[in-house]
Symmetry: C2
Subunit: 235 residues, 2 copies
DNA sequence: CGAACGCATATTGTATACGATATTGGCCCG
DNA sequence: CGGGCCAATATCGTATACAATATGCGTTCG
């Protein structure tokens, strides 16, 4: 019977593959759950429960949790397990300050190296973004936003900066998605994205960087405003 | 016999404790080996060998390696093991650019909140730094430098920025230590540290931030100069 | 009646054992 | 004689089993 359980669970994991190891698959599954809000900050993740649910042993679960801790999505305290980590207001403010400092600077470095292929890819992303906006499918918003911003900065030749920004985007779109859907800011963001693209393609790099700065600043202010109202989650 | 081996190895690990779990202890041990240069970039870490050496099973080794991968010290490729990761010139340049962008900004936020206790702690650090400089004990240099810079920025109220900078400092002092000991720049750095402290204590915050910027810029240029001569390590 | 101690239970941490996968050497075929 | 295929080996990935540690409650003493 236990075998049956395991086979069923394992299939459900392997089914969504593209991964080479079970632990990586579990990490990805949990990451999506956290980013989508299915696992709220403060929730405790018990290894036994997860192992049984996925139909696997606890070892890959443990390794997945360690990988998530690397990305700051959970916090592991020895002998007490892993809890989904939330962001304090201070941290959210910090994240946006960092984005304001870094992204425009990188755009100036990257913009002139954007190829026609890059532009068409970015426009396609913006298209999807607009579609998601109309459809109200908030789940995909963060991912698209992330890929758009990273795509813009791709050719800055600053690999470490890029991975840092990737982390910032991942961490700040989680609280965003939960509550930003009610405001009209998503539409505004879409418009700004379009304008930034246009400016880049026209060679108005400095103007594009300025707009990007304003874009991020506004998103940050808006999110913090919303964030203040709800109770601060666990640190 | 195997028991004897294990007991001996385990004692060697537990001896340097202060840790609560074996995997954390192993992670710390390996981290020090990598940062000290005992494990050069490109070296392959075999789990069996490490497990036998420490006298423990492979499980804690694996978890330690995952934690190291989180810090970017090793790169794990599925079914092929973990290799110590080096930094390309591009990455070193990027790291210092980031420090130049971030550290002065944070100092301005943090400086006015530095307490007398902070100052005495920082001066003590600088003292140790000077002693290490005279004694030529290069091993401790990076750690002291790291604690000094982080101490300066401690009260900026920007937790995420601080952890990012901590990572940058850790990653860039590894190549530094290997080859910077030959130049006189360590003495220069020591002098600049002292001056920065004085300026902060005198309330000349902007001047302190400017000097900090110059300090980091120079360190970066110097390191990159040295770095170019030796062959670039593995990415 | 309150607080501190100790035990029972639940959960995590580690060891051992097994299975899967990539790499290396040799062999066969073209 | 060179290149590609196959098997043997080594290493990693996962499952199962055991040990260590923290938490919660009941008891007992002040």
């Amino acid at each position: 019977m236990a075998v049956t359980e395991r086979a069923r669970g394992a299939r459900s994991v392997a089914g969504g593959l593209g991964h080479r190891t079970v632990s990586a698959a579990v990490a990805e599954a949990l990451r999506q759950r956290i980013l989508s809000g299915a696992l709220a900050p403060g929730v405790q993740l018990r290894q036994d429960a997860l192992a049984e649910e996925f139909g696997i042993s606890r070892i890959p679960i443990r390794e997945a949790l360690l990988q998530l801790e690397a990305g700051g999505l959970v916090k592991i305290v020895p002998h007490r397990g892993a809890v989904v980590s939330g962001l304090s207001i201070e941290e959210v403010e910090d994240i946006f300050q960092l984005r304001v400092s870094l992204e425009p600077q990188l755009l100036i470095l990257s913009a002139r190296h954007l190829t026609p292929d890059d532009f068409s890819e970015l426009r396609a992303l913006r298209e999807e973004y607009g579609a998601a906006l109309k459809a109200g499918t908030v789940e995909t918003w963060g991912e698209l936003n992330r890929r758009f911003h990273l795509g813009l900065l791709r050719h800055a030749g600053r690999p470490r900066s890029l991975s840092i920004i990737a982390g910032l985007l991942q961490d700040c779109d989680r609280p965003t998605r939960l509550q930003l859907s009610v405001t009209g800011d998503v539409a505004r963001a879409d418009l700004e994205h379009t304008t930034i693209l246009d400016l880049c393609e026209a060679g108005e790099i400095v103007a594009a960087a300025n707009l990007l700065r304003i874009h991020v600043e506004h998103a940050g202010r808006s999110l913090i405003e919303i964030y203040r109202r709800s109770a601060a989650a666990t640190a």
